[in-house]
């Protein structure tokens, strides 16, 4: 599985988060984070996003997080979805259901 294109998931509704993942060649994870609850939850949102990316094996990417108060489970799901869309799993239907997505 490899990031081939820009993958986006989520909405700008309240209690949701929009995640955009853009493949890059090097430079690690370049994260930009905006959130309506940044003062109280910015640290946790960042940790959740980075943790999910690590689990998915993403080492280099430009990641834009636009959060409107999403819970951790939502953030995790949106990161996974954005990543697999970036891997074009939605084109060839190769979502790795069971196990990897959790």
């Amino acid at each position: 599985m490899e990031l081939k294109a820009v993958g986006t998931a989520g909405t700008l509704e309240s209690s949701d988060v929009m995640i955009t993942i853009e493949p890059t060649k090097s430079g690690g994870i370049d994260l930009s984070l905006e959130s309506s609850v940044i003062n109280q939850y910015g640290r946790q949102i960042k940790a959740q996003v980075l943790d999910s990316l690590k689990r998915l094996g993403v080492e280099n990417a430009k990641v834009i997080v636009n959060d409107h108060g999403a819970l951790d489970c939502t953030i995790k799901a949106r990161v996974e979805c954005a990543y697999y869309r970036g891997c074009q799993c939605d084109v060839d239907g190769t979502y790795p259901w069971g196990g990897v997505i959790r």
């Binding site: 209690s15 984070l33 309506s36 609850v37 003062n39 109280q40 910015g42 640290r43 999403a70 951790d72």
Partner: protein
């Protein structure tokens, strides 16, 4: 110095002279000043002995000049026009255009209609703000330390006390009025922009040195029964529009259909019926928020079932309580503010719907305000902590965006104060370990109702007994807070700078809490 709600109040604030030169005390607990005395500080007013026909001046500018307003003075406004208010901005523009500076605005409340004032704060022209509500850009610039002196935030009752006691001296009061005659008798009905009552402007008319009434509808003398009496008014100005009627009164406070709100409202009603105060002749106030307002709907069948009636309802009045009265279930409505067209229409025509002054409503320093005889109050909150302290002023980002209003007054006065709020709002835990800012002290809060259960203040063993007897389940508030954190995570503490940007006064004039300048978030 730590106060009775455990908040650290900086020593230097206590003798900073912010209380019109007098020293501050920190909050000592509920009812601290009961039985003590105050000396009311009357205004210096001009004698009008020679007969004259009219007090009308051609413009606001003329009125500002004639009032003798100078650098360093304090002007006041009321908030009955809510988001539709034009008066504050019109008057402040003239004051600024005349080059007058170092102005303190002492308003009963300010709102998002007053964004232009933020510019005057940034320009250093407005150097003091005393209000109940602070929102929008004004809240933002004050939270970022742009106001020269800390804003002083008071409850509606606390403001009247402060005015009477001379904690704030109003040099010139500018009172917008839907109708006025040429001698200054003003009413809230009969004009183009009716607001129902002028309760919050009454202390200003009685305690300001100079009083200017601004109206868009001149009516023949005498405009009686008057809310603001001409004997207290120096000048009258007619303008084209005092406000936007559509924003002054919302069409109708919409009854919530949200099942979560309805469930909480129903539980509030059940709690009320389990207490000894739910009997014929009880008294009641509820806020205009979704679940609070919905309580009216659930009370009705319970009152009918028991064959009891409410003797009186007070507060910010909305259509649903007027409707309850039309059904014969409420004796009198005593009104300090109107939130919707239905309430304004009702006070126009209903002989049992009366206007009261802000002092009669909630002043802790008079000889007994309505809130002192209140049985139940149902209120909302942004946050409640495990000590039952309530925050209704600062958001989760630490920025000022609310108003204590009558919350602390009714909470202290009522025999049973019920807070109704969802456990979480988005990712915000409403029930938390420590509220950002204490606006109503926990010793005044009795029951907290959420969508995940309810909790009673352990200080109120009498209410706990009532609920147990009625089989209404309740849990320690700590459990609610833990439940909330388990869903949204434990919030990080907000980051503050040292500078105090606002003082939260308890209704008795002691310091309940302070708000500091917010630090920009860094990861």
């Amino acid at each position: 110095m730590k106060n009775a709600v455990g908040r650290e109040i900086p020593e230097e604030l206590l003798n900073s002279g912010l209380r019109n030169g007098k020293g501050y005390e920190v909050y000592q607990g509920k009812g601290y000043r009961d039985g003590k005395y105050i000396k009311k500080q009357g205004p210096t007013t001009k004698i009008y002995q020679k007969p004259s026909e009219s007090k009308i001046l051609p413009s606001i500018r003329e009125a500002v000049i004639k009032s003798g307003l100078k650098d360093g003075m304090t002007v006041s406004f009321h908030h009955h026009f809510r988001d539709g208010d034009y008066i504050v901005n019109m008057v402040m523009k003239e004051i600024v255009d005349l080059g007058i500076k170092d102005i303190t605005i002492a308003a009963s409340s300010l709102g998002s209609a007053h964004d232009p004032i933020a510019d005057y704060i940034e320009q250093g022209i407005v150097t003091g703000i005393q209000t109940s509500g602070i929102r929008g850009r004004m809240g933002d610039v004050v939270s970022h330390g742009k106001l020269k002196t800390p804003a002083i935030l008071r409850s509606h009752g606390g403001r009247v006390r402060a005015v009477e006691e001379g904690d704030v001296h109003i040099d010139v009061a500018f009172i917008g009025a839907p109708t006025c005659d040429e001698y200054g008798n003003a009413r809230a009905l009969g004009g183009k922009s009716d607001c129902g009552v002028l309760s919050y402007a009454v202390p200003d008319s009685e305690y300001a040195d100079k009083v200017v009434v601004i109206t868009d509808t001149l009516v023949p003398y005498p405009n009686f029964p008057a809310s603001i009496h001409g004997i207290n008014v120096d000048y009258v100005v007619k303008v084209d529009e005092i406000g936007n009627p559509k924003k002054i009164a919302s069409a109708a406070a919409r009854m919530t259909q949200n099942p979560r709100d309805l469930m909480m409202a129903e539980n509030v009603a059940k709690i009320m019926t389990s207490t000894p105060w739910f009997k014929d002749g009880f008294s009641f106030q509820t806020g205009a928020g979704g679940p609070s307002l919905a309580v009216n709907r659930f009370l009705e069948p319970l009152m009918v079932e028991r064959g009891i009636k409410m003797a009186w309802a007070i507060g910010g009045i909305t259509g649903p309580i007027c409707e309850l009265q039309r059904k014969g279930l409420v004796g009198k409505i005593i009104d300090v503010q109107d939130f919707d067209v239905a309430a304004i229409e009702d006070i126009r025509t209903n002989p049992n719907h009366y206007e009261m002054t802000a002092s009669e409503y909630a002043n802790p320093a008079n000889k007994g305000a309505f809130v002192n005889k209140l049985d139940f109050v149902v209120l909302a909150a942004l946050e409640v902590d495990i000590d039952f302290n309530v925050n209704v002023i600062t958001g989760s980002d630490g920025v000022l965006r609310g108003a204590p209003g009558g919350h602390p007054d009714t909470a202290e006065g009522a025999k049973c104060c019920i807070i109704v709020t969802p456990l979480t709002r988005g990712r915000m835990a409403t029930i938390c370990e420590k509220v950002v800012t204490v606006t109503t002290p926990g010793d005044c809060v009795d029951v907290v109702v959420t969508d995940y259960g309810l909790s009673v203040n352990p200080k109120r063993q009498d209410i706990i007994e009532c609920l147990d007897k009625a089989g209404i389940k309740h849990v320690p508030i700590k459990e609610l807070q833990e439940k909330a954190y388990s869903m949204v995570g434990k919030p990080d503490d907000l980051q503050w700078k040292d500078k105090v940007v606002a003082i939260l006064e308890a209704r008795d004039g002691t310091i309940l809490d302070v708000v500091r300048e917010i630090k920009p978030y860094e990861m």
